[in-house]
């Protein structure tokens, strides 16, 4: 679909959701680890938003609402295709991440290690970290997106950051090759 056609068709589409498409995609990709499936999930969510676009006034935070849909659909797909998602993670690491090759030349291994650390986190911790660290969402928005309480969000973030700090410390002390 060309950019022009997309823009024409999007006149009735809620602008806040249009602007959040890359956020939704990154979140789906974080859960699924597959480019194709992440794109499919975002497409499904967009169709749902289109069907409900006249009811959007009742939704306080449309972005968080869409994030929740992405989470639910991604987890459903993940359950159905667990093995395929694991293989896709490896291919995604090579293709989609590390957008600036020049800056990665010296720290490529460290970045890969951090990716592994993040992927090894429990599901809730991984999602909380992604929404907070990558997308810059507030605690309130994260509770709405993940359907968790404020305490649960803070606990998950605390545990994830503590684990990350320990692992980063180990990498610095022991060295990358042995990490």
């Amino acid at each position: 679909m060309s950019r022009l056609l997309f823009e024409m068709a999007s006149q009735d589409f809620p602008k806040s959701i249009l602007n959040a498409q890359h956020k939704l995609y990154r979140f789906a990709l974080k859960i699924l680890g597959s480019v194709q499936e992440a794109e499919d999930v975002v497409q499904e969510v967009f169709i749902k938003v289109w069907e409900k676009r006249w009811e959007m006034d009742h939704i306080l935070n449309p972005e968080a609402w869409c994030m929740r849909m992405v989470k639910n659909r991604s987890l459903d797909k993940l359950k159905a295709k667990a093995n395929q998602a694991h293989e896709a993670i490896e291919s995604v690491k090579k293709v989609d991440r590390h957008a600036k090759p020049d800056s990665l030349a010296e720290n490529k291994d460290m970045l890969k290690h951090i990716s592994r650390i993040m992927d090894s986190l429990p599901e809730k911790q991984k999602m909380c970290m992604h929404l907070r660290e990558i997308e810059g969402m507030s605690y309130e928005e994260i509770t709405q997106a993940l359907d968790l309480s404020m305490d649960q969000v803070k606990t998950n973030l605390y545990r994830a950051r503590q684990k990350l700090r320990r692992k980063l410390n180990q990498l610095e002390n022991v060295g990358i090759n042995q990490g």
Partner: protein
């Protein structure tokens, strides 16, 4: 900044503090702890750079056009009725009421007396005068009736 870093690792920092920390890390000195945070920030930036390549397709609108018409129609009717009522009320106040006011002379709305006892006395006199005149007119009416009967008789005789 040490305080913010500690708060960050404990999960107690605010969004503003985290943004401040990221900004500070760009030019931070090269210590062990700072190196860990710097590489973490680098990783986050690479993740944020990921964008969707295939744009999602937006379905074409058909159903919502009907829904829009249904929503507006009752509102339009209500507005038309309200406008009609306002117009009728305006007509009444601007045309009919002044007409009624013209028939009644202005002095009728003014108070003639300030003293109520004086007003009562004058009213009593006026009513007495009115009743006297009414009685007088009754008498005249009887006389007029007789004259009327006589004129009818005369007319009937002259025709014959």
């Amino acid at each position: 900044m040490k305080e913010i870093i500690e708060k960050y690792w404990k999960g107690e920092s605010s969004l503003e503090e985290e943004k401040l920390l990221e900004k500070w890390l760009l030019d931070a000195p090269d210590t062990k702890e700072n190196r860990e945070l710097k590489i973490w920030l680098k990783w986050k930036e690479s993740e944020r750079a990921i964008q969707m390549q295939r744009l999602p397709e937006i379905p074409q609108a058909q159903k919502p056009e009907k829904a829009k018409v249904r929503r507006l129609a009752p509102t339009k009717i209500l507005l038309s009725v309200a406008a009609l009522i306002c117009l009728l009320w305006l007509i009444r106040t601007s045309l009919v009421k002044p007409q009624l006011q013209k028939e009644t002379p202005s002095w009728a709305y003014e108070d003639s007396f300030e003293d109520p006892e004086e007003a009562y006395k004058v009213t009593e006199e006026a009513l007495l005068l009115l009743s006297t005149k009414m009685n007088t007119s009754k008498k005249h009416k009887k006389k007029l009736r007789k004259i009327h009967i006589l004129s009818d008789l005369i007319e009937s005789y002259t025709k014959d």
